[in-house]
């Protein structure tokens, strides 16, 4: 049994805790949060050891691994403390606000030989995995265009900052929250861009952070990319993420439900004939042993548990790929700043 602890009993922390709690190869032994109202009920009802200070938990709970689900600004400290003490570490996305910190966490995990994963769950959705597989296999020919988007209704009215998600210093805002998912997905499917050509961070209702992000990328080889995210769009019931990839032989449109593939005549690939093929999540997603909110949340934990058991730093969604994502996020912020000056 893998002994695990949780740092940060917020929205994502609780979700991880539930999936871990049902995992047959994991024993959740401790949880930690600065707010005791979150931990006291858990301790009382589930017998979990609870802490206010994550260092104390890491030092005393006899853990194999930790899940870090605190505000982004605190990830570096918590993750490096855990890695230094030989634990395997899963960190919520994005990894760090400063990409050089992400890189050094990645180096540290490698040096220590510990599993190191980031919660970019789109990488575990069957439709997006199929899109990546087809692109990497060359089914689309030369890719000349990729566009990624995410829309949802997180902030749909003016308000004063009440949580860390509305404070830029702690890693709040649409760039680190929504756009990070899209950047990571685009990196996953076509590889990271070489440069961010231009970007706009747009406030709509928030005071301290952007509610929308628009950016243009240039890829090695000359392909162009477009990112559009907006968490203040009330027409979306929940976060909705899409990617479109255009190549000389065809194109792919993918979201959480569908992977739609168009191939030109003469460009047939494996079971994909010319013209449109639509494949659904029902056909592309592996089942999970315990389901909460989506297979991807369980699948990413399965993948991490597997890496912990093998004690390997080399696996899907590692700090290394999340560092690439942080590098692009930082370049978007910089391009937007240059533009506004």
């Amino acid at each position: 049994m893998i002994r695990t602890g949780l740092i940060g009993v917020g929205k994502m922390g609780i979700s991880h805790l539930a999936i871990l709690g049902a995992h047959p190869r994991v024993k959740v032994v401790a949880a930690c949060d600065s707010a005791t109202y979150a931990t006291s009920a858990l301790r009382r009802r589930t017998g979990l050891d609870t802490f206010k200070d994550h260092r104390k938990m890491i030092d005393s709970a006899g853990l194999d691994c930790v899940f870090v689900a605190t505000p982004t600004a605190t990830h570096f400290e918590a993750a490096s403390y855990a890695l230094e003490r030989g634990l395997h570490v899963f960190v919520e996305k994005p990894l760090c606000l400063d990409p050089s910190q992400s890189q050094s966490l990645s180096d540290l995990a490698r040096a220590k030989g510990r599993a190191n994963q980031v919660g970019y769950h789109n990488r575990f959705i069957g439709t997006f995995r199929e899109a990546r597989r087809l692109v990497q296999a060359g089914a689309l020919g030369d890719v000349y265009r990729v566009s990624g988007s995410a829309f949802g209704q997180v902030v749909i009215r003016p308000k004063t900052g009440m949580t860390w998600r509305s404070k830029s210093s702690e890693g709040g805002g649409c760039l680190h929250d929504y756009a990070s998912h899209v950047v990571d997905l685009m990196n996953f499917v076509v590889g990271p861009p070489e440069r961010v050509l231009a970007a706009t961070l747009r406030r709509i209702y928030s005071k301290d952070v952007e509610d929308a992000v628009y950016a243009t990328f240039l890829y090695p080889g000359g392909a162009s990319g477009q990112l559009e995210t907006n968490w203040s769009d009330a027409t979306y019931r929940k976060m909705t993420t899409q990617i479109a990839v255009y190549g000389t032989r065809g194109k792919i449109l993918a979201d959480r439900q569908e992977c739609k593939v168009f191939l030109r005549a003469g460009a047939e690939f494996e079971q994909y004939p010319a013209d449109w093929t639509i494949r659904y999540i029902t056909d592309l997603q592996e089942p999970v042993a315990f389901y909460l909110r989506g297979e991807e949340y369980s699948a990413q934990i399965d993948s991490f548990v597997d890496a912990v058991e093998r004690a390997t730093p080399e696996h899907e969604n590692s700090f290394a790929s999340a560092s690439e994502t942080d590098r692009v996020i930082s370049a978007i912020a910089k391009a937007a700043q240059e533009r506004s000056q």
């Binding site: 917020g10 929205k11 609780i14 979700s15 805790l17 539930a18 999936i19 871990l20 709690g21 049902a22 005791t36 109202y37 979150a38 006291s40 009920a41 858990l42 301790r43 009382r44 009802r45 589930t46 209704q153 997180v154 902030v155 749909i156 308000k159 009440m162 949580t163 998600r165 509305s166 027409t235 019931r237 929940k238 909705t240 899409q242 979201d255 959480r256 439900q257 569908e258 659904y280 999540i281 029902t282 056909d283 089942p287 999970v288 042993a289 315990f290 389901y291 909460l292 909110r293 297979e295």
Partner: protein, 294 residues
Amino acid sequence: MMHRILFGDNQFFGVNHMSEEKARAQAMQFRDTASIMGVLDYAYDVGIKVFMCTTYDRVGDIAEIVRDNPVRYPDFEFYPCMPYAHKYANSVGEVGALETIRRFAPGGIVETLIRGAVSAATQDLEKLMQLLVDAEMKRFAGVRTPVIFVQNVVTDLLLGLGLHDMLAAFDRYIREKYLAEAGFITMNLPLLVDTLERVGVRNPIVCANINKIGFRMSGGIEAYRDVLRSGRCRPIAMSILASGAIPPREAIEWVCGLEGLESVVFGASSPRNILQTKQLIERAWGVEAAPSVG
């Protein structure tokens, strides 16, 4: 006795597990309550008396129409499913957990939680659940709600967190306060039924994805068959078409052939699909089809 054919609500509220585009088109089609009522009326008139619905704000308008027209809807029943989780999740993202509780559960519960006396914390959790249930149930005042469900995201969260007493507490509260039966929607049926039995909830009403291809049937299709066959719960099948991955006739014949299945819930937006689905289910169950309405 629970009704055997229940009408679902996903099609009205932009929920489509197969296609985002279709979900958006449906959200536009059903932007006003009258267009939803048109479909519900048809379903009701062909003999589907139960509307199993998430507790969206707009469901309150539908409940009001039913309440105000007892002659038109003498035996219309709601099976409310709570909560509408995205409402809470979006709010937690926006204003935080405590402020969200303040928003939806009036009466100083947050202050009690913050004071955080450990001995009080467990009772507070139960109290909080009761306040949230009451807030959700307000919109159903004066209409029939013989079965009240907790949505899968909450059921399965409590299941995973090990807060199993809360599932029993929900069951108790629904019986005592609303004189109704509690229902549990889940994506992990075998695990849920075992767990409910351990906390003393016997023969519960449960609702889960049950379909021929095993889509979102965690624990596997055979474990589901076993639970159904065992008679330890009263199961309702949802997502019987696996979001459209299985042709209707094939899907329905398979589901209705399962030993131990009590009811089926399905959603549709056209009269033709409603009637066709209902007739397929009745035929598969060997029930005499109800006459169609003109």
